[in-house]
């Protein structure tokens, strides 16, 4: 079973079309293995992206360098998955 320890989901707010373009550039960097939960297309809709642990530092550095605002939406994905699993097991019982 695939685990997601240390993976984060960032909520990114691009304040302009130019910054949206920078997020689209990020999307093309396939080696980072980013999982865009909402796509960078419309500045009115925040971009949520799941980031593998090994790419976290690079992505955050990229965002900060380009003055793109973000918040951490999910601190550690695996923690939430574990909670969800426990709850399901509890309900099963």
């Amino acid at each position: 079973e695939k685990t997601f320890v240390g993976e984060q989901v960032l909520r990114i707010k691009a304040s302009s079309n130019e910054k949206m373009g920078l997020l689209q550039d990020l999307q093309s960097l396939t080696h980072l293995q980013l999982d865009f939960w909402t796509e960078p297309a419309n500045p009115n809709i925040p971009v949520d992206v799941r980031i593998p642990f090994r790419s976290l530092q690079s992505v955050k550095a990229y965002l900060e360098y380009n003055n793109i605002d973000y918040t951490i939406m999910i601190e550690d994905l695996q923690v939430i998955i574990n909670n969800e699993k426990e709850e399901m097991e509890f309900n099963e019982r």
Partner: protein, 309 residues
């Protein structure tokens, strides 16, 4: 062990087997209005069941499906709750009763059963089908890029390893072909609602192109009325519009295909998020999500009922 649909815990996430058991319970409890049809088999051999809500023969139909992207668990849960509500309300709620006295409703609770099972057992973040393509090490196709609507156009990937891989050809995925065949062979589907999550959007065609559909004004009005009805319960705000103008250009999507074959009332919901969990919406959110979504869906169903074409 849950013994009837009334004691089933709709406010929890369940495995595929449990969902299928719940479907059987609903059918058993409301035999006069609901039946189960197996319309096909998934790539890995799982049955694809649709619930048919019907009170008479030879009626036009309305299609509702959920969970084409498997990791969106709240959509399958919402659809299951909706199934129970629809059956329960017939004969009690005037709107549902008059709807089912004119139309059949087909409800596909788990559109992508292989993906759903895989997201429960191997990869919680899985969103595609589980089909294997020769010549690629990567598995699966994004089933909402695989419909025959602008297939292969912008907003879908040709890379089998991408999460939005469109597949080798339109309807290459048996899960998509099964639904498309059903819609084609039925011939009288007048409304099509696809339930996804998350980000609170109510979308209508087009996604594969950025031009407005011929019925833009009507669809926009219906969509806004549905979003308004939905928000009346908990204040959840939806954005309404075409796929292309609201989110981004995406080819091969289901509601574009249904609209292009003549199903005027084609909509897709992106259900609520609390702004903190994305696809991992806590189970405590299932019932509020389902309850508010039902109000939006009902508005669309009523419009279809009252505006035959």
């Amino acid at each position: 062990k849950e013994r009837n649909s009334g004691s089933f815990n709709f406010g929890a996430f369940h495995t595929l087997d449990n969902l299928y058991n719940a479907i059987d319970l609903i059918v058993a409890d409301y035999k006069s209005v609901v039946s189960k049809q197996q319309i096909g088999t998934s790539y890995e051999g799982r049955p694809i069941y649709v619930l048919k809500f019907s009170t008479g023969a030879d009626r036009p139909g309305i299609w509702i499906d959920a969970g084409i992207h498997s990791r969106e668990w709240v959509t399958q849960a919402t659809a299951l709750w909706t199934a129970h509500q629809l059956a329960f309300d017939y004969g009690k709620d005037t709107s549902v009763t008059s709807l089912l006295n004119k139309y059949d409703v087909f409800l596909l609770v788990v559109t992508n059963p292989d993906g759903y099972a895989y997201s429960h057992t191997a990869n919680r973040m899985w969103r595609k089908t589980r089909s294997i393509k020769s010549g690629s090490r990567c598995v699966g196709v994004d089933p909402n890029r695989n419909w025959n609507a602008g297939f292969g156009g912008p907003g879908a990937s040709a890379d089998p390893c991408s999460d939005s891989y469109r597949g080798p050809s339109a309807e290459s995925e048996v899960e998509v072909k099964t639904v498309a065949n059903f819609i084609r062979s039925h011939g009288k589907i007048k409304g099509f609602v696809s339930i996804h999550s998350y980000s609170q959007l109510l979308l209508f065609p087009y996604g594969y192109k950025c031009t407005n559909p011929a019925h833009y004004t009507e669809l926009n009005t219906v969509g806004k009325a549905a979003a308004s009805a939905l928000s009346a319960l908990y204040g959840t705000q939806y954005t309404v519009g075409t796929i292309c103008s609201t989110i981004y250009q995406a080819s091969g999507g289901s509601i574009d295909w249904t609209y292009d074959i003549g199903i005027k009332y084609s909509f897709a919901f992106e259900l609520r998020d609390t702004g903190r969990y994305g696809f991992l919406l806590p189970a405590t959110q299932i019932l509020p999500t389902a309850q508010e979504t039902w109000l939006g869906i009902k508005k669309i169903l009523e419009h279809v009922r009252d505006n035959p074409y």
